[in-house]
Symmetry: C3
Subunit: 215 residues, 3 copies
């Protein structure tokens, strides 16, 4: 362990950064819950309402990210390296941005007939977000290496599942849908959801890096 890390351990710290990161993770969970409602909407105005709520959550996320950044510049001792807190906050924000983008496109492209794979991808994304959230809460106990490892394994596993659903869904689309414009539209929705799951894995990778640095 580096000298500056030992010093860090000995100094008093508030748990503020944990709270902010956890708030950021909770925003993902909230957005995920909203996203689940999207395929169930009965009309465009219901879809617009859901997308609006996700946009609001995304604005909350921006404000949390901004508070983290401000505090990083004014706090002397942080529980983890400043640049790692920053990188994790950015990575979590990135997941939220992609979810917001998905919802927005869903509405704008006027998707009414929702393929089953959309629901499946949203479900897997929610599972991944939940694991990611657990990982963020584990930051308070960086010594629980094994629990962490299970989290990373699961996020990785969900990303693989999303890939498989995605590939199968696109292949089905090519087989069954004859309208190329419809193919482009639906594929765009698939891509958005699959990328959001990728971004969860990226965020879990940042977490993994933090864990590795501290053990």
């Amino acid at each position: 362990m580096k000298l500056d890390k030992i010093i860090k351990k000995l100094l008093p710290q508030d748990d503020h950064f944990y709270v902010l990161l956890e708030e950021s993770a909770q925003n993902l969970v909230k957005a995920g819950t909203e996203l689940k409602k999207l395929p169930l909407c009965r009309n465009q105005s219901e879809r617009e309402e859901v997308a609006k709520r996700i946009k609001d959550i995304e604005h909350d996320g921006d404000s949390v990210a901004h508070r983290i950044f401000s505090e990083l510049n004014s706090t002397f001792v942080t529980p983890m390296d400043r640049e790692d807190i920053h990188e994790l906050a950015s990575a979590l924000d990135d997941v939220l941005d992609h979810m917001d983008g998905c919802a927005h496109r869903f509405v704008m492209y006027k998707i009414t007939q929702v393929p089953k794979a959309v629901t499946q991808l949203i479900d897997v994304l929610n599972l991944s977000i939940n694991e990611l959230k657990n990982g963020v809460y584990l930051l308070r106990n960086l010594n629980k290496t094994e629990v962490f490892q299970d989290t990373f394994k699961m996020v990785n596993e969900y990303e693989n599942q999303a890939d498989e659903i995605f590939d199968q869904a696109v292949a089905d689309l090519f087989d069954k849908e004859e309208n190329p414009i419809q193919i482009i539209k639906i594929k765009e929705i698939f891509v958005g959801l699959e990328t959001a799951t990728d971004k969860c894995e990226d965020a879990a990778n940042v977490l993994e890096g933090i864990l590795i640095k501290h053990n």
Copy 2:
């Protein structure tokens, strides 16, 4: 502040790395100015000339990146952590690569009827590049936290604007354009410009990380 950072501050340093990073940022501005001309070209040969000039700027950028890399390997004391200079140089280079790609595709896909959103996306990209350039020049004054923060906020804001223009433009394309091949082509141009703005945000994130590390 870590011990090695204090030592760094006490040792003499030349400002060479700042100059090189600023040159890299200026290349983005130059490429952005050229990109603005692209939708105004009257024929394919004019478009080819513009794309050629952007390609030349991109080659200049490669050479700056290479010089930064060589100097990093031969200089003992750098004003910032070596790996951060490297990461920032790569991130700036990445923006330029994407701009070059956009111009190249614009010419190769023989886009003659330019949708208004292309001009809007290029304008927002230029605004973002300009803020990013300001951020790079601020590196000489890492203590000016608030000015930096404004820069990041603006780059983030431009990225959101680009997203909105993009989503609206694609939705319009689906509504109005009946030729699917034309949709694919134009969408590809939109994606390229939107991604270039994303890459500006990535580069601003690297800058933000450097600032956070040093305060």
Copy 3:
């Protein structure tokens, strides 16, 4: 050089991490060799066999990545910074994931008429992988700055080549293919291969960062 790096140099270390990273690089080479066979397959069942072998290599890769991660959490002294080993392992794994994705899609989209550009992109990807592998083996001699620099230059050069082949291939597709669904399918294969080459450059960038940190 930082104090903790000097201490690191003085302590005994096993070369285990080099071996694991090299195994990871070798997996890329193996997957690349399989990928080359894909355009030569005479029927769907042959294609499925190749894709199956690449999937197996990808599983091996996951297991190597997992072993690296476990060892990082249980070893006290590592030859490089832990977080750098982790980042490099992730970057190499990312290349493999994309190669596996390409092969999988190739089979699922039932691509029978293989455009020449696919073979060209696979060739360039293999050249890039080979340079990347050389770079990973060079980690044992971080002082060989110039050889490293050649490696990075080549990976960068191959990425540019892939970009050019890609842009030309897509332009040709727009010119010659009249079926939009076919355009979407083939373009997806091109994108996958071009992205795999991008990921090689990302991994080379991580290597470059490690080199810069240690000189």
